[in-house]
């Protein structure tokens, strides 16, 4: 009986979703604001990557909210895990030679790749969030390969706070110079060069450091407690 009802509900949901999606044309720009971003985005913000110009410039305030959500999640996880901690110093099995050597070889390359992704966020696909996640996956690799290594909590918290602080301070500087929060007050330069797009690369570097240290400290917290 329950199985019949769930199959029936599944069919209703499938038909409903496919009927409502069938009316939407696939991949056609429909909204005026979307067309404006595509046509004028590079001219207005100086960022060659339109996604970045939307995420950091047009919708920069949303991004600040997103970063705050991640920050609160990391703090909450740390708070929950620190109350259940009973510090049982477990004996750490050392990794095999292949894993150890592979991790030591790959870790700097992954760090450089993540840094490249967020420094070039305004030119090529990617940005602060993606670069930060790649850097955090590099730290994950270190936890798998070199198990006795730990990140320095003080340094990671400092980097995290500094990243958030730089984001907010740049937003407030926009308020000072032009009258609204996150105004792009720096010169935009020529598009498609590294030093272009005003505040966008600075904000993305700050976000990259912040997200990277946050996700790395989440992994560190979890591994410490498990």
């Amino acid at each position: 009986m329950r199985r019949a009802i769930s199959i029936f509900l599944l069919i209703i949901v499938t038909v409903g979703i496919s009927l409502s999606l069938a009316k939407i044309p696939f991949g056609v720009p429909k909204t005026k604001v979307g067309r404006h971003y595509i046509n004028e985005g590079v001219k207005e913000t100086g960022a060659a990557n339109i996604v970045t110009s939307v995420v950091v410039n047009y919708r920069g305030f949303d991004t600040l909210g997103e970063v705050t959500v991640l920050f609160i999640a990391a703090i909450g996880l740390g708070a929950v895990l620190s109350t259940v901690s009973q510090k049982t110093a477990r004996k750490v099995e050392s990794a095999s030679l292949v894993l150890y050597t592979g991790c030591r070889l790959l870790f700097p390359l992954i760090l450089i790749f993540g840094t490249y992704i967020f420094i070039h966020g305004h030119l090529t696909p990617g940005g602060g969030f993606q670069g930060g996640a790649i850097i955090a996956s590099g730290f994950l690799l270190i936890y798998l390969g070199c198990r006795e290594r730990r990140i320095n909590r003080v340094v990671s918290n400092l980097v995290e706070s500094l990243g958030g602080l730089i984001f907010v301070v740049i937003g407030l500087l926009g308020l000072v110079f032009g009258g609204y929060f996150l105004l792009n007050f720096l010169p935009k330069g020529t598009a498609n060069t590294l030093f272009s797009a005003g505040i966008i690369p600075i904000i993305y570097v700050a976000i990259g450091f912040k997200v990277g240290s946050e996700l790395a400290s989440i992994i560190d917290n979890l591994i410490e407690e498990s």
């Binding site: 991949g27 990557n49 996604v51 970045t52 992704i117 696909p125 990617g126 940005g127 969030f129 993606q130 996640a133 790649i134 955090a136 996956s137 994950l140 996700l215 989440i218 992994i219 979890l222 591994i223 407690e225 498990s226």
Partner: protein, 79 residues
């Protein structure tokens, strides 16, 4: 092109079903990471490389790792 995309869609469906029916939870986590990986490649084909990068790094790598770390504190097999 269409062959690759349909293969990826079928792979995603199979992996999603596998993730929900596997009794071995490590296997289920890896199947769900496979869903994210196929989704990332599909995002790339749909000309959204930004989203593809985030999906591959967070969905396939970090989420799976966090689930596996959490599984160490609980049981590996579902009853």
């Amino acid at each position: 092109m269409i062959v690759v995309v349909s293969f990826l869609v079928v792979l995603m469906l199979v992996a999603a079903i596998a993730a929900s029916v596997f009794r071995d939870l490590i296997g289920a986590v890896i199947a769900s990471a496979l869903v994210s990986l196929a989704a990332a490649i599909l995002f790339y084909f749909l000309q959204a490389p930004d989203v593809a990068m985030a999906e591959a790094a967070i969905g396939a790598a970090l989420t799976a790792a966090i689930f596996i770390i959490a599984l160490r504190r609980t049981k590996r097999y579902e009853e």
